[in-house]
Structure formats: structure tokens, C-alpha cells
Symmetry: C2
């Protein structure tokens, strides 16, 4: 289906996309591009890509589909590097965790929203990075959100949707801003809480002891604090308004909870915890998974 | 070693203690006590106890060791129910997640701190409850903190320590207040963050959508929000000062993080996330586990 696929950023996300499409028999040649020659050589050794280059323009030459899987902060630069080299019919899609900033970068780099750019976000990942971490099943039974614009060509959209479905994912469509608000709540806030908790504990006086007695959920809770600091810095900066608002809202909730505890209001505490337990149990019953 | 063991509260904690000691050949007869006859009958069927009663005084009659594994809010009532029925040489220990409140309850019920009461806290558990959830390996490679007082008999302490070690646990000793502060940071705060997050998301307008797109760590993060609301209500009330202080401190951290994001300070964000990742990776390398 895709004679030539260019992956810009052959890490967990980009590498897994290439592997999944290869396994599905959906791609011919895969060209990898990134900044780390060592990672690209590994990608070649692993058969994730057929050849590689550190030059984005070279990578996209003649490509039918281009997948940008780079940190959000690098998106604008990559778009400017490739804009003159893309085939007219080439479809470009991405995997960025924030859509508003990517769309803004595309408009800035191209002077408009090209009909063949399909903004996307696979809601999947592990806390590991690099092509070594990639695997073809990453997207199976996961959700992918595409955020087409008014300008987006329906056939380009349909193709990208089909490709993600071939990776085993379930695709939904959403408005850009709505995506960013939802993800601020479901993903960005939890990650920031995990980072914040680990950081706060690491800076406490008794931090050796604290980490020695850290069990009872601490490991699970903070697994996501082992995620890439670069990726999360970029997500915070790219989704600053929504993320900032969620953080402040949650901080207020915590202060209210502190007051409830201070007041000794056992009834209210039980309500909050019961409601949370019920919501989570329902989430699991609906097949919710990581 | 223990001819007759009485377990008050035959749930995950109490049931697992009985199972572990039985497997280690350390106990003769096990008597179970609780409020739910159905749970006690199940405990009998499963062989976790040899007989049961809903009367705590009856349960402890002739017992060499008594293990209190009841919600913190029930501790005082149980102590008052058993104080007249305990053998003079009987050793009493508990599994409560907060030690200050338990010690206060003991002093109030007995008019003093009896030398044979050994306050304890096994740092172990799953989000499940009841004797069905119990298993003998729960405490293997886990930490147990004992908080002896000046009045505590060294031989009673040594016995309780040895029993926990026979369950496979590693035992440490700590001052009561210090225990409560450390646990506020390592356990109580993470649980409250998980409860708070799930509750906040459940109350948002778009909660259906939010839970549909909740992946990327959400499940792990919120696993502990499926814990017992009664247990956690009691922990908050029992450890109110330390927990309240941690919540307020963390709320300030979140507001600072929101400001950092608002200011677009990518450098600082990267520092926070990198420090957290390093701390967590170090925690894992030291063999930290859930």
C-alpha cells in the first residue's frame, strides 16, 4: 500500500509504527531519519528500516507517507527542513502528544494547512525510549486520535486511519483543542503528578529512608516518572494553557482534601474514596487498560 | 512456637499473616474473629482459621499471640473488648498503617502501655480485600516496621520480629512519630493523589470520554484508588497532621509547577523531570519493588 515510508524519529513510537506496518505487509521500503547515527544503525540492524539518513529532506524524497515521531520541540524545525523536498502527493502524519502546537507549527512552516497533513496521536507507549524499545504490537488494542482540520483531504485522512487500524489500533476523530484538553486530564496531569511526587520525595531530608520504605503502589504510581524528560518538557510547553489549568485545579482539590482531613470529616472522605473506587472499577470493567 | 494464634480481622492482612505462619509451621491453632460471619466461614473453608467467633473476648481467651488486623477506626473498640480476656502472658501486635493513633488507643484502653503490646506495620498489600484475597507469600521480601515504646518488653518485641521474619519479611524498628511521617510521604500521599485524580476526573463534564482515553499510565497510577475507602478514611483521620501537611506541601509544588509551565521555563521543567527520573531509576536499581 505504501511503497516508500519515511520515519522521522526512529524511537519507540516511530520504530513501532514501522515494525507494525511491515508486519502487516503494508509497506515496501522504510527510510529512517534522526539525529543519532548509533540509533539509526541499530534500526538498520534490527530491520526496522531499510536505509537511513540524518538529513530529513533526503529522507522524505520520493516518500509516499512520512511519519513524524520526534519530540514536540523539534517539530517545527523538521517541517521547515522537509517542506521543499516532499512529493506533492505525499501524505504527512505525526504522533505528537499535543495537537494544537503541531498544527500551529505546520501552519507556520507551510504558510497554510496542507490538505495532506493529518495530525495524529497514538495513545500508547512505555516509559522506555529508542528503537530498541520498539515492537510491532505496541499499538494493538490502543486508541489513536486523529485531529483533521477543515483543510484536510478526506482521502489522506482515510488512508492514515486505515494504516493505524492495520497496526491494530482503534481510531477516533477529535477537534484539536478538545484533544488537548482531554489529554491534559487523562495523561499530562497524571504524568506531572508522578514526576512531582518523585521529585518532592527525592528532595526531602529523609529521602534515603523514604525510598527504602516506598512500596504500596509507589512503584506503579511512579513508573511513568521514568519517562523521557525531554518529551515531557515539550508536552508541558506545548500544552501549557490546558496543563497549567489542570494543575491548578488539582492543587485546589488537594487543599480541599487537606481541609476535609483537618476537619476530621470522615463521612466526606469516605464519599470521595468510594466514588473514586467506583469510577476506577467501572473503568476496568469497561476493558480499560494501560 | 505459637500454640494458639488469634486473628482479629481475617482479611487480606490478617489472613495472609495466618497463612504465612501456618506455612512456616510456626502456629498450632488459629482462631479467627471479625464482624462478617460469611467471611469467617470462608476463612474456615479455606483453612485459614481452625475455628471462629464474632466475639473478640472469646477469640483471645487462651491465645498466646493476638494479631489485630482491623481498620484503624475499629482498634479502640477491639482493645476495650479484649482487655479483660487476654492471658497475662499474651503478646498483642497489630498491622495498622498509622502507629500514633494505635498507640494512643492502646494507652486509652489499658490506662497505660502494656509491655506485651508491640505496635507493627507490614508495608504490604494489594488493592483487594477479604480473606479470599489473602495468600501466604504476601509478606515475602516486604518490609515490616515495628515501633516499640520505652515500655515494650524486649522479648515480646523479639518474638514478633521473629514471626514476621518467618513470613519472609525484613523488619525495621522506628519511633512512632517518625514512622507516621515517613508513611505520610511514601504511602498516604500517593494513595490520596490517586484517589484525588480519579475523583476529579470522574466529576469532570466529559468524564465518559476521559475514561475512554485514559491510558498511558492511568491504570497503573490509579490502581491504588481501588483500595478500601474505609481503610483510607481511617488512615487520613488517624494520621491527619502528617497527611494534611504533605497534601498542602504537594499542592504548593503543583502550583509552582503550574507557574513554571506558565512562564515557559523549559530548562527548569527538564531539571525537575530529569531529577525525578534519576531518583526513580535509582530506586529501581536498589531493588525497589511494589
Amino acid at each position: 500500500m505504501i511503497a516508500r515510508l519515511a520515519i522521522i524519529g526512529v524511537g519507540l513510537i516511530g520504530g513501532s509504527f514501522a515494525r507494525a506496518l511491515r508486519a502487516a505487509g503494508a509497506v515496501g521500503e522504510v527510510i529512517g531519519c534522526g539525529r543519532s547515527v548509533a540509533n539509526l544503525e541499530r534500526a538498520l540492524d534490527l530491520g526496522v528500516v531499510d536505509r537511513f539518513t540524518t538529513d530529513p529532506a533526503e529522507a522524505v524524497a520520493g516518500a509516499d507517507l512520512v511519519f513524524l515521531a520526534v519530540p514536540l520541540g523539534s517539530t517545527r524545525g523538521i517541517l521547515e527542513a522537509v517542506r521543499g523536498a516532499l512529493d506533492e502527493r505525499a501524505i504527512v502524519t505525526d504522533g505528537g502528544s499535543v495537537k494544537g502546537s503541531v498544527v500551529a507549527d505546520v501552519r507556520a512552516a507551510f504558510g497554510r494547512m496542507p490538505p495532506n497533513f493529518v495530525p495524529g496521536h497514538p495513545i500508547a507507549g512505555t516509559e522506555h525510549s529508542g528503537v530498541e524499545a520498539s515492537f510491532p504490537e505496541l499499538y494493538r488494542h490502543r486508541r489513536v486520535i486523529l485531529t483533521p482540520l477543515a483543510e484536510t483531504d478526506p482521502q489522506a485522512l482515510a488512508l492514515v486511519q486505515r494504516l493505524w487500524e492495520m497496526c491494530g489500533a482503534e481510531v477516533s476523530l477529535m477537534e484539536v483543542d478538545h484533544h488537548d484538553e482531554i489529554l491534559a486530564a487523562t495523561s499530562h496531569l497524571p504524568h506531572l503528578l508522578a514526576f512531582g511526587l518523585v521529585d518532592a520525595l527525592a528532595r526531602m531530608r529523609e529521602n534515603d529512608e523514604i525510598f527504602r520504605y516506598a512500596a504500596g503502589g509507589f512503584r506503579d504510581f511512579t513508573r511513568i516518572a521514568s519517562s523521557s524528560p525531554v518529551m515531557w518538557r515539550d508536552i508541558c510547553l506545548a500544552n501549557a494553557p490546558a496543563v497549567g489549568a489542570m494543575l491548578q485545579r488539582f492543587a485546589s482539590e488537594l487543599n480541599e482534601l487537606a481541609d476535609t482531613i483537618h476537619d476530621g470529616d470522615g463521612e466526606r472522605l469516605w464519599e470521595i474514596f468510594s466514588r473514586a473506587k467506583a469510577a476506577r472499577d467501572r473503568f476496568l470493567a469497561d476493558g480499560g487498560r494501560d
